[in-house]
């Protein structure tokens, strides 16, 4: 989307209030969605719940192809479609809902930096494990990713996706990494997040921000998803403040509706 179009959309967005019929689209929860997509989707859901904006989650087998950027998740609000956490945060801001308004410039810089840390390390590590670790790719990622399609389309789509992710990993220099090095990166990232969080309830003390939603989305999904090995979850479990952070957000924002 061009910048002019983006500015136009945010102008339009400001005009209308948040409708009751807002929907969030993601791949099929039981048999299709993969760890990284599930984490991104949960992050957006957590963010919208923190804003107090109601959204209905809809699972579609072709969600990836419905999304304007080809990425999961995306929301359909009124007559607009917005995908990924960053643009969605801007979109809700245009509608007058923002979690980071109370922060000063330096804190906002810090928040953005930590969000990029999560994208740069955790998200990339999730993608690496899904598609570059042969055992996980063969047992989990390819079968799940292609589950809605019949042979031979299923094979074509799954291998194409794997090829695309591997090219991306090579381009950013992760192609030569071993699984052990990736786990090590995840540990470092978690350590940084744990240090930054300290004993506070949220990253910027009392009030949750989009950073909290993003971190929760990724950590909670990693902790609750079964992969071929539980190594990734084990790495996170050694940071007790991150665990209680996940539990706190789950209880505050998700418990009342799910139970």
């Amino acid at each position: 989307m061009s910048l002019a179009a983006e500015a136009f959309v945010s102008q339009m967005a400001a005009a209308e209030p948040w409708p009751e019929s807002a929907t969030l689209y993601q791949p099929l929860k039981e048999d299709q969605i993969l760890l990284s997509d599930c984490a991104s989707s949960l992050a957006v859901q957590a963010y919208l719940r923190m804003c107090g904006l109601p959204v209905q989650v809809v699972c579609r087998a072709n969600a990836e192809y419905m999304s304007p950027s080809g990425k999961i998740p995306f929301i359909h609000v009124g007559n607009q479609v917005v995908s990924e956490l960053g643009p969605i945060v801007q979109f809700t801001k245009a509608k007058g809902n923002s979690l980071s308004d109370g922060l000063d410039d330096v804190q906002r810089a810090e928040m953005k930096a930590y969000m990029e840390l999560v994208n740069n390390m955790l998200l990339t590590a999730e993608l690496y494990i899904q598609w570059c670790d042969d055992a996980t790719a063969a047992e989990i990622s390819r079968p799940r990713y292609s589950s809605p399609y019949s042979w031979p389309l299923s094979n074509i789509l799954a291998y194409h996706k794997q090829w695309e992710i591997r090219r991306k990993m090579n381009a950013i220099g992760w192609g030569g990494k071993t699984l052990e090095q990736v786990y090590e990166d995840v540990t470092q990232c978690c350590q940084a997040l744990s240090q930054r969080l300290g004993t506070q309830p949220y990253f910027f003390n009392k009030q949750p921000t989009e950073l909290d939603a993003l971190v929760f989305g990724h950590l909670f999904t990693i902790l609750t998803t079964r992969l071929t090995s539980m190594e990734l979850a084990e790495r996170i479990k050694s940071y007790s403040n991150l665990l209680s952070f996940c539990r706190r957000i789950e209880q505050t924002y998700f418990e009342d509706k799910s139970s």
């Binding site: 953005k112 930096a113 381009a171």
Partner: protein, 307 residues
């Protein structure tokens, strides 16, 4: 202490010790930590194609990539981050990720994908530092790597076209520069009184945008408005690199561009050949009718112009 350390990197120009971001990061960190590193530029050797730069050679071991080299130097007890708290160490990681995700794509685009900059600055420079016949290969190789990296990391499936992402990567990069400027504030370094690895990373990313005489760069004009970031770069250059490169900063861009264009016109004998090879490999159209001929003399004259 360990054996003598040798650092392979791209050579300097434009008032910088190296024109290459990763090399610059390592050079700056080595200065900050007080590590004695022998710098051996790969210019005019076949290593321009074969070597991965920067590369630190120490005894039998060879270390590549800035983060790995910095870790290696730390283990040799050259630690510029010694006084940082754990929280500040976490901040360093976060801001480094911010640079990688937000500034890197626009940096690559500015130097390697933008047709005007590539034809008038980047290709002549890298071609003039590579021996024949690598002068044809090396710039093209870098340009292709840069383009595919941008498309793979920021492109939107299924088309992956560069025009669709240009606006996005530049607005991300400008936002990133603003955030760095807020974070730095009025301080001279990002943490405390001495520069740390984060200062090295920011310097490596920002200084080439600041110092290169780019024919077209929205990023450079944006950066020039952020006074604290530009004086941060000037400060590091003056304090740590002034003996190598006496470099007053050149704000007169227009005259420099005119000189550069005259020079490139004078030396474009082999332009047609380069153009053909280039157009076959790069789909994006080139605007300039003339192509500069890579000559070492061009580089030396060019570096003298801004001084």
């Amino acid at each position: 202490m360990a054996a003598a350390m040798e650092l392979r990197c791209w050579g300097g120009d434009w008032g910088l010790p190296s024109v290459h971001t990763e090399s610059l990061i390592v050079l700056a960190y080595a200065k900050f930590s007080g590590a004695k590193v022998t710098v051996s530029p790969i210019d005019w050797t076949w290593k321009t194609l074969t070597a991965t730069v920067p590369e630190l050679l120490c005894g039998d071991s060879a270390v590549q990539e800035p983060t790995q080299i910095i870790n290696f130097l730390r283990k040799q007890r050259f630690n510029a981050d010694y006084e940082l708290s754990a929280r500040q160490g976490a901040d360093t990681m976060a801001y480094t990720a911010l640079l990688e995700e937000k500034l890197r794509p626009a940096l690559l685009h500015t130097f390697w994908v933008d047709a005007e900059n590539y034809a008038n600055l980047t290709r002549p420079w890298f071609a003039s530092r590579s021996p024949f016949p690598l002068n044809f290969l090396v710039p093209m190789h870098h340009a292709n790597t840069a383009l595919s990296r941008i498309l793979l990391t920021k492109g939107e499936a299924p088309l992956h076209r560069i025009t669709e992402v240009e606006g996005k990567i530049y607005s991300d990069a400008k936002e990133c520069l603003n955030l760095l400027s807020y974070r730095l504030g009025t301080a001279t370094n990002f943490f405390g009184n001495t520069p740390t690895s984060l200062d090295a990373f920011v310097f490596g990313f920002v200084a080439p945008i600041y110092k290169a005489s780019l024919p077209s760069s929205p990023l450079q004009s944006h950066l020039r408005q952020l006074d604290n970031l530009t004086s941060f770069c000037d400060n590091i250059l003056a304090l740590y690199f002034s003996s190598d490169h006496p470099c007053p900063s050149p704000p007169v861009q227009e005259t420099m561009d005119a000189n550069l264009q005259k020079l490139t016109q004078l030396v474009n004998k082999e332009s047609n050949l380069i153009e053909k090879m280039d157009d076959n490999l790069r789909s994006s159209p080139q605007h300039k009718p003339h192509r500069p001929d890579p000559k070492p003399s061009l580089a030396s004259e060019k570096s003298s112009t801004p001084a």
